[in-house]
Subunit: 270 residues, 2 copies
C-alpha cells in the first residue's frame, strides 16, 4: 500500500491565524512549511481511501470516482469540515466509515446528501477492502475516536490520531499485531501535567519505547510543538520522525518529504 | 462604501461535486466560472466588514488586522464553515455580529477562541460603524436569518440572503428606506410550487417589480439556475443582474465583473 500525508496540523493548522512565532512566520512566507488539517491518503491496487475529511478542497483534489471511500477517526470539525460541501454532490455515492458516534457533527447525519454513513466501524472487527485489511482500534480522546490498522501482504501501518496515550486493549492488540509503522498524534511539546486529549512529546516517547520494532511518525503537530522541535533538534530517537504535509511512505518502507518541499529553512532563533 | 462579491454560490457551490451539467463542466475547466460560498466584503474608510464566513481560506485572504468585523446572516454551515479554523488564532479578537440564534453552529459558541460573538444584532436597530450605518432586517429562512441594510453618505445597499420572499415588516421597512441596490437570494430557476427557504426566479422577479427604483443583483446561485439562465438569456429586466465571484460595485453605482474573469464562454447546449 502507499500512504501520503495530506495534512499534519493540529486544529488551528500552521500558520495559526494572527500568530507571529517563528514557525508561523516561516509558513506565511513559504506554503510548503504549512500544516493543513490532519489526514492521509491510503492507496492500493483496488482502493483509494481518504482518512479524515478536514481538508476544505476535497472536491477539487479528488474528482468524483477517484476515491473509493472515506474513513473517519472521529467527528470533530477539523476532521470532517470538508464533507459539508462535498455532500451536496450528485451522480455518485461516497461510503464514509466512521465510529458509532450517534451525534456526528452538526447536521451531517440529518442532511448526508451523497455521503453514506451506514458502514459504521466496530473496534477490533477486521474488514477486507480488496487486498487491504483494516482493523479499527479505540483511542483516548474527548469524543468517540478510532485509530485504523492497515495491513496488506507487505506492510502493517497503525494510524493513531487523535489520542492521549492508548487504551489498554488497544495497546494489547498492537503488541500482538506488531505494526511496521505507527502514525501517532503528537500535538504538544512536553507538558508539565499529562494532557487528556492529545499526546505531548513525553507520551509519544513513552509509546515509542513500548514499540521499538516499529517506525514512529508523529502527526497532528501544533505550531508550539514545531517551535519546541526547532530548539531541540536532536531529541528524536532513531526510529521516530516528524510528518510533513505531502510526505509519502515509499515501497521501501521509509517516509520521504514531498518533492519541492522546503526543509530546515526556519531561521535559527536569536 | 465599496462592495465586492467573494462568493455567489448556493450550498453546493459551482462546480457541484460529480455534476456533469454544462455549467459545472465549464467551471471545472475554468475556475473563474465557479461560485464559492456566498459572502461579500464591505469596505469604507474606517471599516472592512466580511458578510458571512463560508469561505474556507479566510485566514489567508484576510491577514490578522485586515478585517474590522464579521457580520453573519445566519448559522448554516455554508455561511460559517470558515470560522472553525479561524477561531484558533491568537494575538487578536474578531467581533462577529450575528442574529440572536442560541444554537449557533456545531461547537462555535462553546469554543469561540478569538471570535467574539457577543455583539448580537437586533432587527431594525441601526448601529453606526464609523460613517456606515447598518440596520438588520429579518428574512424568511429555515434558521433565524438577518439581512443587512448598509448606508453611507452616498448609497444604500440591502443584502438579503438567504430568504424566500420577505417578511411583511421587512418589506415595509425597505419600501420606506428606498435602497439603491438590493443584493438578493435567487437560488433556484422558476419552480412549480413556491420554495420555502430560498427565492426562485419567480419570487425574485416579484420582489424586483416591487422595488423598481433599486438595482437588483442576484446571488446564492445554484448550478441549476445557472443552466436555466444559459437557456433563457433575455429574461432579466433592465434593473436586474446576476452576481459573479469577484464582481465589485464601482463608486458610480454599477457592478462590474472581476478583472480577468471569463464571461459568456459556456458553450451553447446542442
Amino acid at each position: 500500500m502507499r500512504l501520503k500525508f495530506l495534512g499534519t496540523g493540529a486544529a488551528g493548522g500552521v500558520p495559526v491565524y494572527g500568530c507571529t512565532c517563528l514557525v508561523c512566520r516561516a509558513a506565511q512566507r513559504d506554503n510548503s512549511l504549512g500544516r493543513k488539517p490532519c489526514s492521509v491518503l491510503i492507496e492500493t491496487a483496488e482502493e483509494s481511501i481518504l482518512v479524515d475529511g478536514g481538508l476544505p478542497d476535497l472536491g477539487r483534489r479528488f474528482p468524483a470516482g477517484s476515491l473509493t471511500r472515506i474513513f473517519l477517526t472521529h467527528y470533530h470539525m477539523d476532521h470532517v469540515q470538508g464533507l459539508f460541501q462535498l455532500r451536496w454532490g450528485c451522480n455518485t455515492l461516497m461510503p464514509v466509515h466512521g465510529p458509532a458516534d450517534q451525534h456526528g457533527c452538526a447536521d451531517l447525519f440529518n442532511h448526508p446528501g451523497i455521503l453514506d454513513f451506514s458502514p459504521v466501524m466496530q473496534a477490533f472487527e477486521t474488514k477486507a477492502f480488496g487486498s487491504l485489511d483494516v482493523t479499527p482500534v479505540p483511542l483516548n480522546h474527548s469524543k468517540m475516536t478510532l485509530g485504523y490498522c492497515f495491513q496488506d501482504d507487505t506492510i502493517r501501518i497503525a494510524y493513531l490520531c487523535d489520542t492521549a496515550g492508548l487504551p489498554p486493549e488497544t495497546r494489547r492488540f498492537l503488541k500482538k499485531w506488531q505494526p511496521d509503522h505507527i502514525v501517532l498524534d503528537c500535538t504538544h511539546p512536553p507538558q508539565e501535567s499529562q494532557p487528556a486529549n492529545h499526546n505531548d512529546f513525553t507520551l509519544a516517547l513513552r509509546l515509542a519505547a513500548d514499540f521499538t520494532s516499529a517506525r514512529i511518525c508523529l502527526t497532528h503537530i501544533s505550531h508550539s510543538f514545531d517551535v519546541w522541535l526547532h530548539h531541540h533538534q536532536d531529541v528524536l530517537p532513531p526510529h521516530m520522525q516528524i510528518a510533513t504535509d505531502g510526505m509519502e511512505l515509499l515501497p521501501e518502507g521509509v517516509f520521504v518529504a514531498a518533492a519541492g518541499q522546503t526543509v530546515n529553512v526556519i531561521p535559527t532563533a536569536k
